[in-house]
Symmetry: C2
Subunit: 359 residues, 2 copies
Amino acid sequence: MQKLRVELGERSYSIVMDSNILSGLGRALERFEFSRKVALVSNPTVYGLFGKEITESLKGSGFDLLEVIIPDGEKYKSLSSAEMIYGELLKAKLDRRSCLIALGGGVIGDLTGYAASTYMRGIDFIQVPTTLLAQVDSSVGGKTGVNHSLGKNMIGTFWQPRLVWIDISTLKTLPPREFCSGLAEVIKYGVIWDREFFNMLEASREKILALDEVTLIEVIRRSCEIKAEVVSQDERESGLRAILNYGHTVGHAVETLTGYTRYLHGEAVAIGMHAAARLSNVLGLMDEKQVLRIKALIEACGLPTEVPANIRDEDVLSAMQLDKKTVSGTLRFVLPEKIGSVRIQADIRAEEIIKAIRD
Amino acid sequence: MQKLRVELGERSYSIVMDSNILSGLGRALERFEFSRKVALVSNPTVYGLFGKEITESLKGSGFDLLEVIIPDGEKYKSLSSAEMIYGELLKAKLDRRSCLIALGGGVIGDLTGYAASTYMRGIDFIQVPTTLLAQVDSSVGGKTGVNHSLGKNMIGTFWQPRLVWIDISTLKTLPPREFCSGLAEVIKYGVIWDREFFNMLEASREKILALDEVTLIEVIRRSCEIKAEVVSQDERESGLRAILNYGHTVGHAVETLTGYTRYLHGEAVAIGMHAAARLSNVLGLMDEKQVLRIKALIEACGLPTEVPANIRDEDVLSAMQLDKKTVSGTLRFVLPEKIGSVRIQADIRAEEIIKAIRD
């Protein structure tokens, strides 16, 4: 069993990872001072696969369990779903010492964390991420949120979980395309922070795609470790944490312009990472050889690298302006200087961005 | 100009108070690093009285001002109103460095603070409280929230304002009943924390009711000072802060059982403070003379002291069980030991509570 610590003072917490550990969650929660009443939030697909194991574990440890099932899909990451959760918690009389357990991918994790952060001015929650993307990214770091009709993740909080419980066995039932989408964020960590990790990913890509357990645990552990390190230094994204948005500026624009239907999040980020790498090269910050290595690893993981030809340049530019990270109209790019190191740069001319995207 | 500091590390902020200072708000905000785009949230009544002065001040300092007007009334302290605010902020492109300004009483302050705490994972906000209750209580301390159909303030966050700007001149237009309701919280501070302040309130009650400026500023300053001291020691109500709930246990029950229509919040708290003082006496914690002094001051401020006869004892008991402060079914009372000092006590028998209420 691997264990990491996210250091955030009184909000510090552990990330535990191994295979086949869902049935151990009840025992792990006994050491916290929660009320007996806790709630599991999940969706029908994930609950169908892992619900029985988790609920038996929690009940076996004496918890009085409420189950809240939210329909599948990003469109349920909404204020209405949060309101539905509040209602269920109030009817079942969950109190300030109750805890919510998020069993699922990013939608369930973000929504449950948001509900936890706003129920009775904030109660505890536990992340049990069941997708690779959630395991290496969204379950760690305390960003919660729901979508608004005028923008994704526009409503949210910073609210750290008390524990992240990662069972890599859940990845066996994950559709391959979803798995690959998660790999985009893994590659991101190599590019922004750790050249050796990037090398390891290049060398191990076949084992990763074959879901080799030892390799997977190593990949997830190192990804979480990097994210934890960045988040520990800048919990609320006032500085360093912004480097985690590498690939997300163009990525979000591509997602918006394709109506969130054509690409999974990681696929759009993959396109954005390649675009940002090329932009670095256009600006003379990084040599072409490293751009090609990044591109090759993205492609080897079954991910796209190019902004679709039918999207207009000016639409990409204006979609980027609407990004939540834009402050007073100034757009900031996360640009690699070499594999393992990035910088943040503002005031890049539109022609250079277009050149990077369309070269 | 009186100025107090609420010490909360990086979340510290000032409370500024004086008469006729609404027109100085713009200048005061210039020293913060806000975006030019800010939003004023108010209701039609308060906006009608003070909107022009505030908006001119903000525009005069170069702010690009969005105005969001929420209809009057507690029923608009809701998730729907928060959603409406989010929509207006997004349409006007307020960003992470924008700030919200709450101009109004507790409903506007709590709602605006809640919206600020959840918009783009939290933006800054300023409290400009215009009722006595908001000036001495709800605008200080960072409790934000909206109501749920199953309970008041059930959805909320702890989110500190960046500045509290108290213009006591706004009290001149406040209906006398609302003013008296605010005095309940003022009396509370004397009972829980400061015997001399209680003595001063007894001696100055006529000046207070006549809105004498010098006296009012002194009363509001000391109230805010006590609240700030308590909140600084326990921001999230894990211990000491609970003493601020003196009078609120029975008070909330009375509000619930009368459908929030018969009593203003402070009136219900006044009834609850008297009940808790009597409960102290029933339990042998405080002599009757001090109970009678508390009762006399409450009455002198035009506030009620008795639970209505048509409310059944068992309904009071069960309504208290639903209180948000109840954890794992255990109810805690804040009980005075003498004027100026309270203790928190659990496991009080129902008969004793009824005896205190009905004696």
